[in-house]
Amino acid sequence: MDSQAELQYLTRKEAMDKTELYDLMTAYGDDVRRYAYAITKNREQAKDIAQETFLKAYRGFGSFKGRSSLKTWLFSIARNAAINEMRSSYMRRIVLFEWVKPRGVGESAETAYLEEQSVREIREALMSLSMKLREVLLLSLEHGLTMPEIAELLNVSEGTVKSRMHRARQAMERKRKEMER
């Protein structure tokens, strides 16, 4: 049984303690952060949103009725937080990176760069899709959510999810072909 399955007992509880919060972050933290990143396309925002998601989950655990899986519930909190953040009139300056001290000199830049090229191209293609298309694709493929779960999370019909999936796949195919030219 994986750590996510083990935590399903929480669905029968009214509140969680800090140990359970820690376990919840361990089990779902990466997924939540990646999902937030897929929505916002912004690392720092995604980091903040992921942390905020678990704080809200901890404080508002009583509102979790167990109708959905813990993961879908956390994703819905993250999604609301991300959309609120993007709607905010104030867009904070986001620090993308700071260089840290050198690891060492002498690697072949060309080799390292080319090795990552393929993944980069897929990422670029995917992140250039509209949020609606990008979201269903990642929820389905990366996070393994079912069509009904995605529909519930996005508050749309399953038919809409299927339609978006179809369009997302077509768009990805198109972009991949453009990149190969």
Partner: protein
């Protein structure tokens, strides 16, 4: 499903963002914040605003210790007051490619260390082959490309500048850079720089920010942009800067904050020319007053003292028709 579809779908299933981890540090922050309410979300913003507030407080304390002149307290900023901002054309030369900045050059505005117009015209960065560099580190910049930190290999010859052994910085730009090449931006280790994507004067730009970079205590910010021809410097400021569309016209102004003379300038761009206004001057601040910009709220603050010695803080938002409007609390 086509073969290529199965390849990319398989890659997505494996996770495209594996570096996005919920780290132990993040868990610790959440656990520490779990029993505190609420304000956790604003921690970063408070830090920035707090820093400005501390500067202002220090400024006031210094003013009080040195004894202010009661007659000099001005009356600007009555409740609900609207203060028009009179923008002026910036009279400063635009730095051209190959031109040198000399130490003796004077600043273009009081307190601002720029010796030329913040807009520059220094051309495009030279494109070189990745095989010419020894890579130290690379970072993806979503929406822009890949940033590289490297040293040039011995024997590399550059057309536009002298090749050195020092660490250099360059970028490959998505959709522009031919495979296996990068734009050699220049020499510098870049270790303490904050890098962010932002918008300035209606342009999408990559910003490099160094809060403290000058011997006079000022920070530095420079903005680079990409187009079909490559990578170029768009603007530079010898001070802290913020970008915000204050007047809602779709073009982001530069809010420039200096330590020297505690100035806040707003710069607008119009068809390649800059206009500026001093917030300090507009608010009628006197020597004992301090002005501050709240990055989080996009408001301006005037900190001062009344004739009886009590302190005040007046807050202004940017209103219609380029006016500062006092916020009545």
């Amino acid at each position: 499903m086509s073969e290529s579809a199965s390849v990319w779908e398989e890659r997505v299933k494996q996770g495209l963002f594996r570096e996005e981890k919920f780290t132990d540090e993040m868990k610790k922050t959440v656990l520490q914040s779990a029993d505190r309410r609420p304000r956790w979300r604003l921690a970063k913003g408070i830090g920035i605003v707090g820093a400005l507030a501390i500067c202002a407080a220090a400024f006031l304390l210094l003013a009080n210790l040195t004894g202010g002149d009661a007659d000099s307290y001005r009356t600007a900023g009555e409740t609900g007051k609207r203060i028009p901002l009179a923008y002026k054309p910036l009279e400063a030369r635009i730095l051209q490619k190959g031109e040198t900045i000399y130490g003796g050059d004077r600043g273009i505005l009081p307190g601002l260390s720029n010796t030329h117009s913040p807009l520059v015209n220094t051309g495009y960065a030279e494109r070189i082959s990745l095989s010419d560099v020894d890579l130290i580190e690379q970072k993806e910049v979503p929406g822009f490309g890949t940033a590289f930190l490297y040293t040039l290999k011995e024997g590399t010859v550059l057309k536009d500048s002298i090749a050195t052994k020092h660490e250099s910085f360059g970028m490959a730009i998505d959709g522009v850079s031919p495979a296996g090449t990068l734009y050699h931006y220049g020499t510098g280790h870049m270790y303490e720089l904050q890098t962010s994507m932002t918008r300035l004067f209606g342009q999408e730009v990559l910003k490099f920010n160094q809060p403290l970079c000058r011997t006079d205590g000022e920070g530095c910010a420079w903005y680079v942009k990409k187009d079909a021809n490559g990578l170029s410097t768009y603007a530079t400021f010898s001070s802290l800067t913020y970008e915000r569309d204050l007047d809602g016209d779709g073009s982001e102004e530069a809010i420039v904050v200096t330590h020297k003379q505690n100035q806040i300038y707003i710069f607008k761009e119009d068809r390649g020319a800059l206009q500026w206004v001093s917030v300090r001057e507009a608010l009628g601040a006197v020597a004992e007053d301090a002005v501050a910009y709240d990055e989080l709220l996009g408001t301006f603050e005037l900190h001062g003292s009344e004739a009886d010695g009590s302190g005040f803080t007046r807050t202004y938002r940017y209103g219609e028709d380029n006016k500062l409007v006092e916020v009545v609390k």
